[in-house]
Subunit: 410 residues, 2 copies
Amino acid sequence: MSTKPVDISQSFVRDLPAAVPKYAGFPKYNFVGGHNDPANVPVEALRAAADAVIAREGRTLATYGLESGPLGYRPLRTWLAEKLKAHAGMTCSADEIMITSGSLQGLDLVNALLVARGDTVIVERDTYGGTLTRLARAGANVVGIPLDEHGLRIDALKAALEDLKAKGIRPKYIYTIPTVQNPTGSVMPLARRRELLALSQAYGVPIFEDECYSDLVWSGERPPALYALAEGQGVIFIGSFSKSVAPALRVGYIVAKWEALSRIQALKTDAGSGALEQMVLAEFCTKHFAAHVPVLNKALRAKLVTLMEALSENFGTSAEFSDPPGGIYLWVKLPDSVDTQHLFQVAAAAGIAINPGPEWSTDKAYAKSRLRLCFANPSHETIRAGVAALAEVCAKEFGVPTRIANVKKS
Amino acid sequence: MSTKPVDISQSFVRDLPAAVPKYAGFPKYNFVGGHNDPANVPVEALRAAADAVIAREGRTLATYGLESGPLGYRPLRTWLAEKLKAHAGMTCSADEIMITSGSLQGLDLVNALLVARGDTVIVERDTYGGTLTRLARAGANVVGIPLDEHGLRIDALKAALEDLKAKGIRPKYIYTIPTVQNPTGSVMPLARRRELLALSQAYGVPIFEDECYSDLVWSGERPPALYALAEGQGVIFIGSFSKSVAPALRVGYIVAKWEALSRIQALKTDAGSGALEQMVLAEFCTKHFAAHVPVLNKALRAKLVTLMEALSENFGTSAEFSDPPGGIYLWVKLPDSVDTQHLFQVAAAAGIAINPGPEWSTDKAYAKSRLRLCFANPSHETIRAGVAALAEVCAKEFGVPTRIANVKKS
């Protein structure tokens, strides 16, 4: 018998995603990813929460699911039910909330429930890149609906639904990020939410509502969730603590009626999400969440202002953007001559990470000269230096901006 | 337009797993699940670990992956590399270890890497039920290999490999739990490990080695892992902290050469496993793991003795089992007249949860009168009372045992 080592790559399934490169640390100017402001991680309160909850309930770690069952730690679900009522107008019980490992696991589970190869789904034209890569991998046909400053355009949605209906296609869902849209930052007004819901009902297409950024509204006010307006019928909702407390805590949640949640639970084969994170969050949130979020938002808003000022200073009129009402990112339009997928590469070589528009859009041509810049993690100083460095790279590669800080580029 | 609520079940994909029932709490006599001994959760040490690590590194929670990249918290991976060297003879760097949300996520990721619908895989005839349900859902053809008191039978494996080869089928992997086999508890001796590896190499079939119970060996001694003997070539290894520290902490790991790990990383779309759990575990393990495990094992061994005594007392010669060298479960043979899937149902009605053999075996006829009893979680008193209750139910339903505690059943 041979004793040649087994070549495991011979056993790989077809169509795997490409191998990842080895991690080489964060770039110097990191304008990507949902990272948050290190200064606003509530370290002392989390420390106290961990100490109290481990002392009080540590022995329950001996059981999967603690004593709360597979939906997740009950005190966290109970707090969430109250929070979602007060914040988003949602009426749901703790038994209609499932804790997930970040809202990303929620995304995967909802897709597993609803999307088979060849199915059609509707998304916002500009949307979270991770949703687009997941749907591509799932073999879905993705229809993107244009946006305006209030989010998803209802006229365009109606036309798309009508067009699909004429073709005999019923989309599996309308995926929307109505509250702090990713990447545009818009908050959909109440009237449009009602119109969206009416279309969902008229065409029998469920809504998949992603609220992972909805705590980060500067004013602290937001319209009711679509889930609230629909009283949960025909809507699945996902949320997260990543943006409002800390992204490394992988705690998100799904809200759905039991008919759907009982199926999603069957698809969640990980024996529960991390208990310690859930316990610490429940302890923290009960005492501190309401006070924490406005402080965080003030800091984020200040960083956004720094980013907008740095863009205006370094790109002048070459960079177009609106002042979003919340979030951790800015969606920026550069001159048409700029290809942001190419800019992404030359910027990376200069230690600057950006999200090129086409990765965040179903319309690659529309998004060609757009990019997303995340501002929560870098310091004010790094934001300023990073934008200046990006302008230098962009000017060198594309000839725009022609002036940086009023110095004409030769 | 209609305003009828959308019926979301119309959008469900086909072939979903059945809806789960609502959680109704743990049964009175809970002999299922990988739960552990509440008295041996190291509460005070975990509390101190949480306090220290949050104080020192809490601000890094602002970034996904902390500052360690997508493979997981580096201090935990570094500690694991040392632990796997000392304990299992494995040579691997921290960059060949990926932290997962329990070893169950590891199981899912390895299957996503290697198993497509219609593929053939080899498993131990009696094996972890969750592996069997996953493989059924993945559409794999599962070939079970009989076991003896030393684990996987090499003669039977060779015959199966030869048979498949004659049919032109190369299995995607040989899945084995060589160290504290689930459910039999056996530990495969070194010589047999070498034979298994030789067959893997001769037939070009990778080994998928599951070591989630391997810390729980009463003697504290175990042969080198297959991964160690193969120097990592053609072997993927998964492990867990669930059984040795606490199951509610969802922290497991995959060890693999970068060729495979770089592909697995691309399949792991959850933006990292829970950071707080990783940080607390790293802090705890560095100081306390080595001392903690023997104390836990002593307590588990004592519970096993209680279970075996209770079985002998209540079932007499009707219950056959061997005294396993480690683990948290006992694989029990009842008389042929007992159908444990039926026993499962009548026992559940009496508040007793058991794993019926057919759910833990590829050979449903072989396993018909077998069952798995987990003993780590219930107290000594509950073990005794639960086994007595099970004997009552079994006698009533199947006429065996005919005597319970020397009292003849009429």
